[in-house]
């Protein structure tokens, strides 16, 4: 215990040396906070650039299962046909909006959210869907075999730039909430698979992923299942009983 003659009483003017020390301590605290903010504010995390807000109208065949997607006719830029996942604005899937159009050719208007190859069209409501002519053929799925693939399960909206970073364990509950409302879950793979860095996830029978997917989201996982391509989108029909976290 240090001892000295100056004695601080809170409601009296502080003796000069006590005052000096207290102000010094306050300034050290202030400087420490500024230094800490400089250190902690910057992050080495790099998730790549993303864009949010470009308006887009796409014409193609709408599929409701496993999750709402639109497959456009092939063109030079997209020889397999541009395929885009749909979501609602906010944490809501687009299932209800497109219910009347499954298998039909539609023009859908929305806002594009995009990070790298992963993108999604955010649709405001059923009024953004319109039947289009001429009618296109529902594209056939190409089977790519059975695969075992590692990666991280994310919700397709946040991971494509709806939020930044929109991935990782701190964002886990948010991703679960998104997926539970019908937004499509995607597997961001540890390495590209058949040219794609992400896969849309489905059940083994091709329906939407089960609710139990919530326990696997944001963790490093290894999934096994059948891979298929629809347009230029890869869909992974997972055997969920074989899913494991590492």
């Amino acid at each position: 215990m240090r001892d000295q003659d100056s004695f601080f009483v809170g409601y009296l003017p502080a003796p000069p040396d006590v005052r000096r020390h207290a102000i010094l301590a306050g300034l050290v605290l202030l400087a420490g906070f500024v230094l800490a903010a400089l250190t902690l504010g910057r992050s080495p995390l790099d998730i790549g650039a993303s864009s949010y807000g470009d308006e887009l109208a796409i014409t193609g065949v709408y599929s409701a299962s496993p999750y709402p997607i639109v497959v456009a006719a092939p063109d030079t830029a997209h020889p397999r046909g541009r395929t885009i996942m749909l979501g609602g604005e906010g944490k809501v899937g687009a299932q209800a909006f497109g219910a009347a159009f499954d298998g039909r050719t539609v023009t859908v208007k929305g806002v594009l959210v995009k990070r790298g190859a992963l993108d999604m069209l955010l649709v405001g409501g059923a009024d953004q869907f319109a039947a289009a002519t001429p009618a296109q053929q529902r594209p056939a799925a190409t089977q790519l075999g059975r695969w075992r693939i590692s990666g991280e399960i994310c919700d397709g909206k946040c991971a494509s730039g709806g939020m930044r970073p929109g991935v990782g364990l701190a964002h886990r509950a948010c991703a679960n909430l998104c997926i539970s409302t019908g937004l499509p879950p995607v597997l961001v793979t540890s390495a590209p698979v058949e040219g794609s860095a992400y896969l849309l996830l489905a059940n083994a029978n091709g329906a939407a992923a089960p609710a139990a997917i919530a326990d696997l989201v944001a963790l490093p996982v290894t999934l096994e299942g059948d891979l298929e391509r629809r347009g230029d989108l890869l869909i992974f029909r997972v055997d969920w009983s074989k899913a494991r976290t590492s």
Binding site: M1, R2, D3, Q4, F7, F8, V9, G10, Y11, L12, A14, V18, H21, A22, I23, A25, G26, L29, L30, F33, V34, A36, A37, L38, T39, L40, G41, R42, S43, P44, L45, D46, I47, G48, A49, S50, G90, K91, V92, M163, R164, P165, G168, L169, A170, H171, R172, A173, C174, N176, L177, C178, S180, T181, A214, D215, V217, A218, L219, T245
Partner: protein, 345 residues
Amino acid sequence: MSVRYTPVGWNANKIVYDALLVAAIVAYILVFIWAAERPGGAPPYDDATIRMRAFGSCAFLMLSVVLAIGPLARLDRRFLPLLYNRRHFGVATCVVAFTHASYVLGWYFAFSAHDPYAALLTSNTSYARLAGFPFEIFGLAALVILLLLAVTSHDFWLSFMSAPVWKALHMSVYAAYTLVVAHVAFGALLAPVLQPLQIVVPACALGVVALHALAARAEPASSENQGWIVVGAPDRIAEGRAIVVPVEGGESVAIFRHEGRLSAIANACAHQNGPLGEGRIVDGCITCPWHGFQYRPEDGCSPPPFTEKVATYNLRLENGAVLLDPKPNARGQRVEPLAVGETLA
């Protein structure tokens, strides 16, 4: 000391203290956001997440500092002015933590058909495993404690609940800190790349623990003596000062010298258990080093109009040595001060 309660009893020292505190918080948040939004390259966090991280890390640092003030002041009394207004620091910490939580609820748990609070509690239920554990629940529990402590921080509640109950309640700040450490350890620290936070947070948490261990070692050991305790020659005690004598059961007694006469009172202030023996005689009254509560040496009573009382103890002089009776008198019971001759410097 107060005879009636005002929302905050302001004085010059508190104003300087709060000004520095607010300056530190504002500087931290602004610099954090500036550093996170630096141009060049894609910022990995959106605006809401940057603010979430800024307020969250600020609250963690503030709570660490709040818990470091106590042991710092015991190790070096020049830190006592930081302790004087520590409650404002605590309330400010709660406000910053609440802002952090508001950003989380208004971003991660908003925009859905579910109630944000319900979504917070039900979106992640992996309670059975460490990786992916719903760490939000730790933060929520800590915030509830901090809110409770902030609401009951006023001296009105101290008096209403009585000091022991209030002290016991406010010791739950340690639980809050542990929960906050868990909240960060299973949340922000689980980043896929190495981040400065992963060094700063453990350093702060372990630093706070180490300071408390150091301060505990500096505490006097308690005495198991029965009967009168030999304190030593009266000139051990300087004029206007006290020495602290540990007595049975972990209590201790402060023996003050005032105008050449000795008086003994309990070494725990009636306000918040402040160490009276580390105080001084100011204007003829024993003055607590923490918040300046005052007691008359001869009867342990605060001067009117104040009503606080502490226990007095009996002293006698034998063969030139001061002896202390470890049995306390009633609070506020008058004991004639023991004349021991002329004042020593």
